[in-house]
Symmetry: C2
Subunit: 323 residues, 2 copies
């Protein structure tokens, strides 16, 4: 067991670079994971740019999800032992050779998945579960509209909603992405540059649940596209947070507007979500109904190129770093 | 059983006047009630002004709640028989000597209440139940903020929330109304003309549920006054519906913004709410924990004066018409 490791350090307006650091020691309920693969997520880009500081107590190092094998365990850890293979949601620190995870935020690798695919699961699966299935309460037979359908969140939401028996509509930025989303199970990919999602979704009967990461410019259209009693869940505001809303329309349609972030939740809350995910989503993955869609992998040293690819929005699915 | 009756007819910009009309005949699942008392509600003023048309199939005549005795029953009515005393939520038609109610929207008179007090119950009790207890999911020990605390809705919400074990803060337009709300069980009446409700509620730890009828000017302050995971429920927008909202703040605090109207709901849905109200709220009323607060009564012929009193906002509690 080495004392030092390599990790990525970041500063705004500077390239991501490798640096040497101490291997962290697990707290009582933490596990130390030797990282085989680390997923990249949009909040990493926001944090790097200075817009999304880590919550109190979280590592400064980027990286919200990993897979690998357990290298050490805290004194109160009961579920995991050294050598177990896990994937885990982190509060940070994934862009490194070793990372700490709370034992409750770690899950076994679903049967049939390698560690690269498993590393691409936690952030998107937890986010979709917490927002579409819990906050949005999507039911079988209902219709889900996902903006950013080709994103990691989007490709995961399509498959999970489909496995649950829902109809799925998505928006994406070009026709090729729309067709890829349809291959993943979306009934209709809508090219937001050339088509009117509000009209198309209304024509199809409206959406019961809308997962939004666009923000202000989409709020009124989302309200119009929602069915009565629909739920609109905001998980990011990539094009602005300060929006206009017609409260009378919200009221008359009896809509619910809500939203959440995952990272700031308490460890007990994340552990609760992890248990639900293991119970409901892991079987879908093991049955092949939900497959992590890997866009590309990059060596840890090339994290900068990996970020550039996400920034370009050319990707479909997840981008993963390999230490 | 007479064939004709007196009812109030309305036109915008004209006084409310009495007119003769046919006594309506009950449909299969309706009861005909000889009206002893009819509650006045703000939507009546909006409908009279032309801003709140009755839903399809509802009577043109004003009046959303009554109490009286059953004068006739439809062929499929099972719960009620001629002579029973009931109070009922109506889709309209209460400002009259006779009115039709769906059997599921009628409830027995709570023990100890006269018909005037019973007529003041349905609209506010159903509204508070559906919005504060169902949509808002107010739990014992939580804090409720009610705007318009001295209104019929407000005085009812204070008492129901208090009976449920919640803390209650209210806003009202003068100090005397604030003190009356405190006598009904509010921990603190906030004079919105001289005090900052956002600061006072935040200082007290924030609100878990906010019942709002003010609309646009209050939305940001409500979001700031809400505790994490709080629920804001809009049931009217007396000062404007087109509002600004910060979606990022909603997301970070994991708030829920929702709203509803009662009148447009299906009869089955109203019957479901009626059953919940009878099960949960009627015992509070019969135990004296929730008392309809009557501001004043007016003869049916003086409906115009009754409306003027509500329009002036001088009232505290309910205004009731006596045919």
């Amino acid at each position: 067991m080495p004392h030092t490791m390599r990790k990525i350090v970041h500063a705004s307006d500077a390239p991501l670079t490798l640096a040497e650091a101490s291997v962290p020691a697990p707290g009582a309920r933490e596990i130390l994971v030797r990282v085989a693969a680390a997923g990249i997520n949009r909040p990493d880009l926001a944090q790097r740019a200075g817009f999304y500081p880590p919550p109190p107590g979280a590592p400064e190092t980027l990286g919200l999800e990993i897979a690998g094998d357990v290298a050490a365990t805290g004194v109160e850890v009961t579920r995991w032992k050294v050598g177990d293979q896990v994937c885990a949601l982190l509060a940070g620190g994934g862009y490194a050779e070793y990372a700490l995870a709370h034992e409750g935020s770690a899950l076994p690798i679903p049967k049939g998945l390698n560690l690269i695919k498993a590393a691409a699961l936690p952030e998107t699966v937890f986010t979709v579960w917490a927002n579409v299935f819990e906050s949005g309460a999507l039911k079988s037979g209902e219709t889900l509209l996902v903006h950013g359908g080709a994103s990691g969140i989007g490709t995961t939401a399509i498959q999970m909603a489909k496995a649950h028996g829902a109809r799925v509509f998505v928006t994406a930025g070009d026709d090729a992405k729309c067709r890829q989303c349809e291959q993943l199970g979306a009934e209709r990919g809508i090219n937001y540059r050339t088509e009117d999602f509000e009209a198309i979704v209304r024509e199809a009967g409206g959406a019961d649940v809308i997962l939004d990461m666009v923000g202000a410019p989409y709020l009124s259209k989302n309200i119009n596209a929602a069915r009565p009693l629909g739920r609109i869940v905001t998980i990011a505001q990539l094009q602005g947070a300060q929006a206009e809303i017609n409260l009378a329309l919200l009221m008359v349609k009896r809509l619910t507007l809500t939203g959440s972030t995952l990272r700031s939740r308490a460890v007990e809350e994340k552990a609760r979500i992890a248990r639900e995910v293991e119970r409901h989503v892991w079987p879908w993955i093991e049955a092949g109904q939900v497959k992590p869609h890997i866009d590309s992998t990059f060596p840890l040293a090339d994290a900068d190129a990996a970020h550039a690819r996400m920034q370009s929005s050319a990707h479909v699915g997840k981008i993963v770093l390999i230490p």
